[in-house]
Symmetry: C2
Subunit: 150 residues, 2 copies
Amino acid sequence: MSDLSKARLRLWLRLLKVSRRIEGDLRERLREGHRTTLPRFDVLAALSRAGTAMRMSDLSGELRVSNGNVTGLVDRLEAEGLVARLAAEGDRRATLVRLTAEGRAHFDTLATAHEAWVSRALGGLNAEDVTEMMRLLGRATGEGNERGAA
Amino acid sequence: MSDLSKARLRLWLRLLKVSRRIEGDLRERLREGHRTTLPRFDVLAALSRAGTAMRMSDLSGELRVSNGNVTGLVDRLEAEGLVARLAAEGDRRATLVRLTAEGRAHFDTLATAHEAWVSRALGGLNAEDVTEMMRLLGRATGEGNERGAA
DNA sequence: GATTTTTACTTCAGACCTGAAATATTTTTA
DNA sequence: TAAAAATATTTCAGGTCTGAAGTAAAAATC
């Protein structure tokens, strides 16, 4: 294996360590301060970003989790009254999910705190660092790595 | 919220998306090609890196997962014959975990493939990019972000 | 040295997550 | 249009993960 390959592996391990640390921090704050969980928050955030009702499969794609998982998450959020399922016009296979008024209010509270937590977790990066890292992350998995076999 | 705060939040979302994509890719390859899972691989990798037997709590800290989780993972790996538990000299509370010969051979096979997969997933980054990103990640969560309240 | 506190691990309930199989519906194809 | 293929979702088994509670042993304190 090349030196570059080994360097990329070390980078991956560091990336994983950083993201696990931040995820753990967010999870703890959501639990302690708001009696909720990160996956639930992620669903609400996706719905809020979309600004409209989403299909189950759109949620699944956006959050990069399986369909079965979304079913369970939406079940729980629905039981909590934060989201509602509704029929999709013209396609009886699909189900739409939207925020309830309560869900929207709940999310707005969380979102403010969440942004502050994340900003603090990445507090070592100034505006220039952030720009540079966005560029590198975009490049990391962009085009040009499709050739070759598994 | 400041622009910097919002930029950091966008960075976090992109970071998460990239790492989830790579994790999903690795998980699928481990399952399809080697009938195993990423958490199991992670445990073997930690033991291999350490080069010696590790305590359960060391594994837990290294992998950033809970103690209870490590108990279950080691249970399963032990049942597969890939790791073994042994008593810790001089401390009857602790349990050491080590790779078996079979576990080491299994891991060596996986590790080669794993390095290639990761390198390919980060194929858009050259040596200079990797160095720069390592630096930024180190800075992101390093010192200097401990002040202020929750 | 006895009591208290801390440490190491396991167990447990409950949530999360995956991939495969099942169900229902829509679209495509013959 | 009937059959086949594709799509959207749910259900399921099994693994992963957390935090809290429980057990046992070691260390600190009195």
